[in-house]
Symmetry: C2
Subunit: 415 residues, 2 copies
């Protein structure tokens, strides 16, 4: 299906990206609207230009690179009832994230364009490669910020007011990056161009390892959310203040951490406290304020909700306030589109292509929830490790992912 050129193209792009934002752990720190992010966006623009794609940024700065040879413009095709197919993912990372989460989907999408051209495919409808901004939410705390804003799942006002660890607001970060915060908002024009979105992503579990195959189609995304717990205290000297006179904000935080694990276990969910901020943060000062961030997900929406409510009640005993920073209910991917992908990939036996759910959020989930027919392909992850420098996919499986995506897109753009 693909020529050696396509795998060479994949390998070459992969080498380009390897050093960008890599830190001493071997992992990556590629946060939205930082110098590393700018470098990645420029790299994406250059790869698109090299392929003659027309790069358009939407109201949030997500990059859409269109391949359409007419007749007419992309918008003419849309107006004629022939909306486009989009493929891609994101280039940003969590702190010390792996190389694959995000970039695998973007690089595979660009390689797919090469694969279609090598095979002589000329799309009957517009094809876009997309790079979503700020998928991980590592800097401003809300995941999938790029897709949430253009679908209206997050208002521009809320997005602009989010702040990073240094107190810089997204609005200020956008201005620093030479952008116009006023532009943000739901982007009907962009969404209207997309008749189908397919995101390829490294699997974040060991489902494909157990099944012994390299590629699967996604079924749904678990309900998931993030909550900020703010525990109040009173700063004082750690040596001279009697225990009974203290209001130590760290105690409530510690109770949250242990309570989250216990409650999630009982309710069949997962719950994690992976980020904490302490004021003043001195070894010999009693904490006057501790903020902990809870991430909770699970196959059952009611159980996830109940987990968070139990933790909220516990934290109230410590005077905490709890803020829901994000919440996404169960997201089912588009059934006809997913079935079509399974049919194309499985040829005679669609049932041979596995279907997997996931506990991770994705831009494809945000688009799906907004009514854009969306689907995902997962590529095997030999250890299941994700959001870690140890995240990995074998190169052969990456190439198999490109082949699968090329097969799917060929079908989607030529029938």
């Amino acid at each position: 299906m693909t020529s050696p050129d396509v795998t060479a193209s994949f390998d070459s792009m992969w080498s380009d990206l390897e050093p960008v934002g890599r830190v001493s752990s071997g992992g990556y720190r590629r946060f939205a609207w930082t110098l590393e992010d700018h470098a990645l966006r420029e790299w994406f623009a250059a790869e698109c230009a090299r392929r003659g794609l027309d790069l358009v940024e939407d109201r949030m700065g997500n990059q859409w690179a269109w391949w359409w040879e007419g007749p007419g413009s992309v918008d003419d095709a849309v107006a004629a009832g022939n909306p486009g197919v989009a493929i891609g993912s994101h280039l940003d990372s969590v702190p010390d994230g792996g190389a694959y989460d995000g970039p695998l989907g973007v690089v595979s999408a660009l390689a797919t364009v090469d694969g279609l051209r090598t095979a002589g495919v000329r799309p009957d409808r517009p094809l876009a490669v997309v790079n979503f901004v700020d998928e991980e939410g590592a800097r401003f705390g809300v995941a999938c910020a790029g897709s949430r804003v253009i679908t209206g799942a997050m208002t521009a006002e809320r997005a602009l007011g989010l702040t990073d660890a240094d107190g810089v607001s997204m609005s200020e970060a956008l201005v620093s990056a030479g952008r116009d915060p006023q532009a943000l908002g739901r982007d009907e024009e962009t969404l209207g161009r997309v008749g189908a979105f397919v995101e390829l992503h490294v699997e974040q579990g060991r489902g494909l390892v157990d099944l012994g195959v390299p590629v699967a189609v996604a079924s749904d995304i678990w309900p998931h959310g993030r909550w900020r717990f703010d525990f109040p205290g009173e700063a004082n000297h750690a040596g001279t203040t009697r225990l009974e006179d203290r209001r130590d904000a760290m105690l409530g935080y510690a109770d949250l951490v242990l309570g989250a694990r216990r409650t999630a276990q009982l309710r069949g969910c997962v719950a994690t406290v992976g980020k904490v901020a302490v004021t003043p943060g001195g070894v010999n000062a009693i904490p006057s304020h501790v903020t902990g961030w809870l991430d909770s997900r699970g196959p059952d929406e009611g159980e996830v909700r109940a987990t968070v409510e139990e933790l909220r009640a516990r934290a109230a005993d410590f005077g905490a306030t709890v803020t829901e920073e994000s919440w996404t209910g169960t997201t089912r991917f588009d059934q006809p589109l997913s079935d079509r992908l399974r049919g194309v990939l499985g040829r005679d036996d669609a049932l041979s292509v596995p279907v997997l759910g996931t506990g991770a959020g994705h831009d494809a989930g945000i688009l799906a929830a907004a009514g854009v027919p969306s689907a995902m392909l997962f590529v095997r992850n030999p250890t299941g490790v994700s959001h870690s420098p140890e995240e990995h996919a074998e190169r052969d499986d990456c190439h198999a992912g490109v082949v699968a995506l090329t097969t799917c897109v060929t079908d989607l753009v030529t029938s």
Copy 2:
């Protein structure tokens, strides 16, 4: 005893210092070898120069400003069996610390020089005003680094290898500040000049409030130390990793926080976890490493030690390694010197001057442990709050502190 000029001098110096390193909380961030610290050291040098004092830096960069009109040099006086008297404290702060912890002692010492001169006192032995560097250990984690290095309580090698939150070593920080890391070490010459050291400090408790008097003499410093607990984990995705597959470093940390409070309560000590560092620190990433710093103190050395050992055993269940970053046993201040101060301050009834112990470490404690006769004066703190923007002392009490210090020093240098 003091003229209105002395209180005016105190007030003027206090106003000078107020803006330096103040942050939005109203507290201070004045960390060793930062721009704020440089500004404070320059201010100190200028105040000493204005008074005609001879400024000498020791092997660690602690600033000693000598007043000695002869005969001969300071070292001649020392050689003649007439060592000097030193007074002072430190100018650095904890994160979001108060204005008084440290600066009150330095400003009072400088005002005392003015007081002696106004009263026409000409010292019969050398008098130094000292500004110790890095007393709080806010940046590199070890309190009283300045006095520990010159007394040999901490080796130069250990000091130079300490790192701050950005991974900058003390050695690198010293080089950045234009200093020579090779100079560090026990400083016999400096210690030999000091026959007595008196540190005035704001009280870090409510002992003087209860007693209804503005000034006390210190008896001892509780045994105290700092321990770093390193909890290992494995970075992974917070949404896709089953609870039973996780190694979440935050769980052991939370257990330490709650265990520290409970164990200290049972053993009549205090224990605090006021600082934590999480890797990678993302909301949707399971922590691969958490470091927590424990501060523990109490009136009884054995109970403090037992508290730490219990916590060490608990943490071992989570695979943690525990490093003792500092430890100082019970420090009794010099009895003859302290009695003399009480006698001078109490005139006819030394027993009218209260004696208080403290859970806070001080440079005076480090010098005392190294054999330098040392004593402390405490100034009333109306709320007892310390290491917080709310730390306070009434201006009248500050002036009373200067009067007391002037009374003591007059006695020490003229008999």
